[in-house]
Amino acid sequence: MAAILLQTADWLFVVDNMGLLLGGTAVTVALTVASILLGFAIGFPAGAIEVYGSDRARRLVEQVGVVLRGTPLLVIIMILYFGLSVSSSAFVTATIALGLRSAAYQSQIFRGALQSVDDGQLEAARAVAMSRFEAIRHVVVPQALRRSVPGFQNEFTIVLKDTSIAIVIGIGELLTTGQNLYEGGQSTAALEIFLAVSLVYFVLTFATNRSLDRLSDYYAVPEGTT
């Protein structure tokens, strides 16, 4: 069994097609970054509205959030691509789908972080005559952003892994590329192909987490010994 599982010929097949797989990786990374940025652009204001907005605005954001968080990503992609046809480009559609989903989750991260900043901070800012908006902007938000980092790290790896679901609309991302190789005829190399693909994902996840760790250390506010 072991001999069947780990044949050198199959590994050579993987190595030969490394270029293709790396191409797929590039698409995966691009898709991830684009979706996370879209998610932030929508998710951060959404989170702020959930904390500081008017009642109606808050309810609207919450309701949309529940729907986006409660619907499988596959369904969101299908509605956007085959149903509403928001774009003829599978990449753009996938970005929008992943971005919307991420926005719904990022709004929760930022909402929690904004709420966790002590009320006294806001009061002190108002006491030096800052308007509510200035106080939120200069005092609450910088602290909230720092507290969002762990949640954001988590979200990054989730989006990275979710890009594999875009296989359903045929984008040339990493898993699709692997699947195509497998179906392209070398069915004995299935294990090697999918293990290689998994390894790449793992490396990407690991690298992202470490980089974000470094980033958060750089911007961290020193903790004292008192």
């Binding site: 509605i79 898993l175 692997g178 299935a190």
Partner: protein, 325 residues
Amino acid sequence: MSTAESTTSPLRDRVGTVFTVRPLTIGLTLFWIWVLARWTTDFVLAGVFGLDRGTPFLPAAPFLTAADTVASLAAPLGAAGAPLAWFAETLQFAADATAYLPALAHGIWTTVLLTVFSVCLGFALALPLSVVRVYGGRWARWLALSYTELIRGTPLLAQLFVLYFATSLTQVLRGVPGVGVGFIPAQAFWVAVISFTLNSAAYQSEYLRASLDSVDSGQLTAARAIGLSKLEGIRYVVVPQGLRLALPSWTNELVYLIKYSSLASFITVQELYGRTSTLANETYQYTELFVLVAILYLALVVSASALMDRVESHTATAGVGHTRQ
């Protein structure tokens, strides 16, 4: 269960203080009544009474007539009648949906089975894993950590593909007596269950580990001080508290699995998404069908959150876990 309370529950934070309780409870109750009625009719009664499986509960005719009526109202209005025309189309789809719903209900059955099996089996695997990660020896801890990191660092779909395409698991399962016979689902379903279980176990063990870690070490010390062994102390003192602290994360996990069970369709399992996709490819009614299925998934997700809410209230102990204000 007023909305004032609900803003502080981490559970509600996830679902949101969205809907007022009344319409939501009514909606969910109706949903489950329909689902259970459909399951009973098709799986139990049909065999007993010889009824046709899959006959819709609701006839399509009334919806069709309503659709026609509204459409004829909309036509003379021209552009202004657009909202009415849209409403007529919705009624038209409702008529079609009466024929789709039985199949979708079967899909819900598969989805629920998939989710329940995976969460429960995943828990059975996760609990010992998490205990090892907190209390185990150096190598045991390293092994458990590696497993968790590998699973959590790779996509669920890739794991599913590995098990389905790259191992002989399917053949092995086909050989197991009973698989695919009667109500027992076929081998692809079980491959999915195994994959989801392994995946869920990794995530659950991480949640549990965090909860066990957050139980004050003084608790175990006190347990040892009254003569309990380390294992007994973990079992009777630390784990009960840890489990309560971990409750909110199970809602997370349940919701996650309900949604990601849709991936099983990639390996031919006919769960809710899979059936919808098949229907959509046949009828081209993509938007309508996927919006309908989104509503069905939402019903499942909200039900799961509500259920976990109940569980949390019933098991809540003052001073342990999240308190309601």
